[in-house]
């Protein structure tokens, strides 16, 4: 006779609930540490005051969050639109690789915060410098992962395609691209979270709107609950974008190893 499992057990075993449970545990620990060590609220706010701030300041957080969100999406879209073609050129041409790749790595070593003010000088206070900043952070992981994806084709598979007398276009569409997709998606996931960071960096150095701007104001006023609430909104944005990329991955490459547990597994 199967005994129905008690609900706490079922809750712990549900995969969707696990991160939420961990968050609850962290919140409780956070609260306990503050009480135990008598940490003053100007150093670390209590979870409750942050939650309160989230509720009372929600319209403002949402407004500023959307602004940061647009910049993030813009930068992320640019990372995809420029990153994937550039990566393909690098993967397919030795010449392009030898010219561009070292320079690309070199450019990544420049701290973005250091050059972000430059974008304000060049492009003013609008959304544009933020988009550029988000793009600069999100771009590199897409390129690296895509190059790897296109280069990881087995020699035997190339022989197979050649034995079928595949044209370059067929080689790309039927072999290389599907083969590279899993790798491209892992790059996109890293890029999605970095684009959020990039947008905020852009807002830090020169902007009068967005979560980054709000963070600076809160910081200036020692308004720690607002700051934490803004950080929370920012994290949620990263999670959301990551989730969208994962959903796209699930739909586009249901055949991949990492997906075999769920999507295709049902067909077995």
């Amino acid at each position: 006779m199967p005994v129905p499992r008690p609900w706490p057990r079922r809750l712990v075993e549900s995969e969707a609930a696990r991160p939420l449970i961990l968050i609850v545990v962290i919140f409780v620990l956070w609260d306990m540490v503050i009480r135990l060590f008598r940490i003053p609220p100007y150093l670390i706010p209590t979870p409750l005051s942050v939650a309160g701030m989230l509720v009372t300041e929600w319209p403002r957080l949402l407004r500023e969050g959307l602004i940061t969100g647009y910049a993030t999406l813009g930068g992320f879209a640019l990372s995809i639109l420029l990153g994937i073609p550039i990566a393909m050129l690098i993967a397919y041409s030795r010449l392009v690789e030898s010219y561009v790749y070292p320079l690309l790595v070199f450019s990544q070593s420049i701290p973005k915060i250091a050059i972000a003010p430059l974008f304000v000088v060049w492009f003013g206070f609008g959304i544009f410098p933020k988009v550029i900043s988000a793009f600069l952070l999100g771009f590199f992981p897409v390129v690296v992962a895509t190059v790897m994806g296109f280069k990881s084709m087995e020699p035997e598979m190339i022989d197979l395609a050649r034995s079928m007398r595949a044209s370059r276009w067929q080689m790309f569409m039927k072999f290389s691209l599907p083969q590279a997709l899993p790798s491209i998606f892992s790059g996109l996931k890293v890029s999605a979270t970095l684009a959020v960071v990039g947008a905020v960096v852009g807002e830090f150095v020169g902007s009068n709107s967005g979560i980054g701007y709000l963070l600076q104001i809160a910081n200036g006023n020692f308004d720690l609950p607002l700051m934490f609430a803004a950080l929370f909104v920012l994290s949620m944005m990263g999670v959301l974008l990551f989730g969208v990329v994962e959903l796209a991955e699930k739909l586009m490459i249901p055949w991949h190893q990492s997906r075999r547990g769920d999507a295709v597994g049902l067909a077995v």
């Binding site: 022989d159 034995s163 079928m164 007398r165 039927k174 490459i253 067909a267």
Partner: protein, 270 residues
Amino acid sequence: MAESATGGAGVAAPAALIRVRGVAKTYRAAEGDVQSLLPLDFDIRQGEFLSVVGPSGCGKSTLLKLIAGLLPVSHGVIDIAGQQVDGPAPGIGIVFQNHVLLAWRTVLQNVMLQIEVRKLPRESGLEHARKLIDMVGLNGFENKFPWQLSGGMQQRASICRALVHDPAILLMDEPFGALDAMTREKMNLELQRIWAAARKTVLLITHSIPESIFLSDRVLVMTERPGAIAAIYDVALPRPRTLAMMGSPEFARLAQTIRGHFYSQGTLDH
């Protein structure tokens, strides 16, 4: 570039479909040129099953790639039905060492890849694909993905892919090397059946002496690197062959003779 018909080995038999004349292969490496194949001369006849056995690294896979047109020859000429090979020829199907089935395609889609890429008519291709899948005993698995199949089934699917465009020639590069011994014997029986039904000209690269004898009309034995032809043996066993024949004295004698080539060279290829 057609050579006169008298230039061959002079065996009175069906016409040679594949002619290999003075074919050698040299690889350019950092430390200088590496000779992979010494000049080779042999024919593969229409409808023949020819195996090439030799120690690891003797260049037998290179030989297959040369005939497939996947590698250029350094010297000599290969022609197929009188046409000089200079690139992948249309009437060839290849089974590789690994199944190289595309992970994002089902068995049927993987077989149909050959039809799609070659832009052959889809209807008749589909019909032939289903027939082949049926012949190799994969019916019921058409819509499974490669990772849902066993190693033997994967290789059967890749044999279907190599045959679906009805090529005159089937080239196989150690196709069963990755399979366990029992599956391998089963696949050998299967391949014999397929060959008997489809009547292709087959070149099989293998390092299993029993496998080469069991399946072939002739066995070409290669020397150690740089590869050359040590000997070519006719296999006189009647067809269809059974696994029990592997225990016959004729079989054992031939296996012993072929094995002798490798012992005398001081190598022992498993």
